[in-house]
Assembly symmetry: C2
Homo-oligomer: 222 residues x 2
DNA sequence: AATCCCGTTTTGGGATACCAGTATTGTCCC
DNA sequence: GGGACAATACTGGTATCCCAAAACGGGATT
């Protein structure tokens, strides 16, 4: 694989895992030494990441895209029509094998699993459901939305019951798709997105102090 | 403005105007002489355009993204839930001044206007409506969808009546938003997207011969 | 005439060199 | 000690250079 793609993926991972703080400045020279490559592939990776909005320009400088918690509502508003459409289409189009694949993914995440695993599966579930719709534009849009959501979800204080609740909702959505009940699946999906948003916002609000202590600007959080 | 952005914008325009044929190979050296800049900014522009899916890699080469007419259905399927949501939100949120702005845009496109003008306004209308929703994610998604549609719409054989029909539908949508009738606006928007898709597909089907003569692969067109 | 093969050319990927602008720092004067 | 200012260090933007690999071409062979 080309060096640029390696750098892109690694940097992406570092950003999404909060290894690099939101808003943190990135100089091409630092990245040069960090990844032991020249500025050429590094610049390409940065331009690419800029397209994914994981990196942004601040004047002439590069910075890790800040987390704007104020966009959480808009994100839910965006996801609801898309994901309800996705599950409806999934009911019409997904094969039993496709559905089983997603089910398996959920099963693989047992209660002993590490935090990263829960985080990843919780994101991938929505993308995989979107994939069942067979519409690549929906898939990409949902994947992008989940990426933007991803870092804020690390900040969330996950309690066992809230996590269990989310998983129950995932299973219910999948169950309705399996049962070929598009209306219920769509209702469940919309409710899940709303619930998740509220859980997230509540958690972040309760933990404002903790967030600030960890150096996160709590901008846009009402 | 940086040279890279200039190159990006010019190249983008050349692609969207079909100045560069879909599938056409782009060598960095040709672009170098064409834009009188070195490969560095050109490569950055290409990476950027790749993110917008206007340019693609074919092995090691760069090519102008082909037009896949088969994705027209998926695109409509994607737009309908988003744009119906957008008009509903617009009803709730758009100010009279905002609406008047869009109205003005439609008015500015009189029957004597050049083809480019119709094309541009026909695209921008949907983006502006999305903007009235106040949701930036919806705006960006619609803008991206309209970009992908853009080139196929150049291929369309525009008859006077079909163009008039589209404009009537635009006005109707806007009228319902103005009248604060979200249900009608949403229905009208969905119908418009479906109608437009059908008009486009019919036109392209009738003109297959013409398309091929102009060098366009009619892939994915049923 | 078709095909294979090898040298040449051209390509994109990466590294480096250079520049102009900007921020920083250190210093000198008050 | 504090503020103005100049030298300096560092940044991203661009141009150029080098390389390996892929594409191309042309001639020899069948």
């Amino acid at each position: 694989m080309s060096q640029m793609l390696q750098i892109h993926d690694q940097l992406r991972e570092m950003i999404l895992s909060l290894d690099l703080g939101p808003g943190e400045r990135l100089t091409e020279r630092w990245l040069e030494s960090r990844f032991e490559g020249s500025r050429t592939p590094i610049r390409a990776a940065l331009v690419r990441l800029e397209g994914e909005e994981l990196v942004r320009r601040d004047g002439r400088n590069w910075i890790v895209a800040p987390i704007d918690l104020g966009e959480l509502e808009a994100l839910a508003e965006f996801r609801i029509p898309l994901e309800t459409t996705a599950v409806r289409l999934a009911c019409a189009r997904a094969s039993a094998a496709d559905i089983a694949g997603v089910e398996e993914m959920l099963d693989a995440c047992q209660s002993g699993a590490p935090r990263e695993e829960w985080h990843r599966v919780g994101t991938d579930f929505h993308v995989e459901i979107a994939r069942l719709s067979g519409n690549p534009f929906i898939v990409k849009a949902i994947a992008g939305a989940m990426t933007r959501l991803s870092r804020a979800r690390w900040l969330e204080v996950w309690t066992e019951p809230s996590r269990e609740q989310a998983w129950r909702e995932h299973r219910r959505i999948l169950g309705f798709i399996k049962a070929n009940d598009p209306d219920s699946a769509a209702r469940e999906a919309a409710d899940h997105i709303t619930d998740t948003r509220d859980r997230l916002l509540r958690s972040l609000n309760e933990d404002r102090r903790g967030l600030r202590a960890r150096g996160f600007a709590v901008i846009g959080l009402r």
